[in-house]
Symmetry: C2
Subunit: 271 residues, 2 copies
């Protein structure tokens, strides 16, 4: 069994889930994917990539209330669960019992469902369906690119190399001369902007910026860049306030021009 996190929020890495799944299957392993932060934010093709078991969460890129974990299992996993001999220690996560909700057999009552959360998830999925999941993926990439342009214009560096970077959560090195916790406190108290701290060996060394789901929009990119620039300049760092916003604006303009050109070329090709 190979288990991995698709979108890793403590570091900001995106795993190559397709390649990892192929490798695992080549070695006769089943794959369990943690898609907590990727669902709705990054492409994930469960059936096409042949992922055996996958779980996510309601409160990340689905922008729903926390408390639910959407899951999907292949037939192979369902068979495995059904053939299990050892008693499951957790009643809460006893899939054998939960499976009795499905299928043509008598529907067995397992537990009182958190129905308000289910209504909220239904609405969140409707919003995603209206936008289109591919457009949601593009939106996360678009705002990440603008955010990245701004961060780099301030001379800050990302933790993760570019080709493994997660668009919806950016880990950025704390620059020399900045008081890591003080900057976060000021962003929260002055700008109502909460950014994450580093965890474990990265504690005190990085900031983590989430641009997920509903919060992934231009006004938040601009607010975050201008607030961070102000706070760092106030702390005495050599930051030109406004440079990050200008860089983000250029990124949006370039992306817009590129998309318009591609649409034109597609129209010409189709004509």
């Amino acid at each position: 069994m190979l288990a991995f996190v698709h979108a890793e929020t403590s570091t900001g890495c995106l795993s190559d889930a397709q390649t990892l799944t192929s490798l695992a299957h080549a070695h006769d392993c089943v794959v369990i994917v943690d898609a907590v932060t990727s669902l709705g934010g990054s492409p994930i093709k469960v059936d096409e990539w042949g992922i055996d078991a996958i779980y996510s969460a309601s409160q990340k890129c689905l922008s729903c209330t926390p408390g639910l974990s959407p899951v999907s299992f292949s037939e192979r996993i369902v068979d495995y669960v059904k053939q299990r001999k050892e008693k499951v220690h957790s009643w809460f996560m006893d899939l054998g019992l939960i499976l009795n909700y499905w299928g043509s057999t008598t529907r067995t009552y397992h537990h009182t469902a958190p129905i308000n959360g289910l209504f909220a998830l239904h609405e969140a999925l409707l919003l995603l369906k209206e936008e289109g999941v591919e457009r949601a993926w593009e939106r996360h990439m678009r705002h990440y690119l603008a955010f990245k342009a701004g961060i780099e214009a301030m001379g800050l560096k990302f933790l993760v190399r570019e080709d493994a970077r997660l668009p919806q959560m950016s880990a950025v090195h704390v620059p020399q001369g900045a008081n890591e916790a003080e900057v976060r406190r000021t962003l929260l108290s002055e700008f109502n902007l909460e950014i994450g701290a580093g965890l474990g060996p990265l504690a005190g060394k990085i900031w983590r910026f989430g641009l997920m789901g509903y919060s992934c929009k231009p006004e938040n990119v601009m607010l975050c860049l201008s607030a961070l620039g102000s706070v760092l300049a106030d702390a005495g760092l050599a930051i030109e306030v406004g440079a990050a916003e200008a860089a983000a604006h250029r990124s949006y303009a370039l992306q817009h021009a590129r998309a318009a050109r591609q649409a034109r070329e597609q129209r010409v090709a189709a004509a």
Copy 2:
């Protein structure tokens, strides 16, 4: 270890939690109590009775959204959890990890909390505090007695003998000549009133009437009695429509008079 359900909703029995806990302690057992349906509806005195571990639920007599389970553990249980050697199989219910939320040690992040549910529970508990938990217990008893008077006036019989009966959930024998499922369907479609079916060996034999938390109020008692009387009379049973409501009304009046007399006697004794 002795584990038992305090308020059993499939049958409508109330366990004598105080006596069971004393007996268990006399035999050096710890006690785990399921108080899912009793919390807020029936007296339960965790510290006074010396209950070691107890859990409840948000959606029964607390009238909150489902999805949360309030728990309480004695120091004895906390020590037991801390000294546990075997690895816990369920990450979700790993109390050793969850205990790191408490105390003077570093607060460890365990999981994303269902924060909306917590706000709802907070509000539900404020409502209960405003009413007073003792008055909530009295309210459940008062409406059960009125409901019982009405049920008996229709000639229906309770499943559980009177001294073991749970006030917030009444199990009543389906009378001869009534189509159990048809009656429930009609109550739901005509009166927007959902009552429970029997489970397991009691399937088809009893109806279960819940009068819990917010729903435990006179208009629901009266609606339920009049709807049930109508539906049973329509089905051809010898039910005098209106007799149940009259009996419930007499019960309320008697209880009101008794409470007024007791208050008067207390005033006299105090004077």
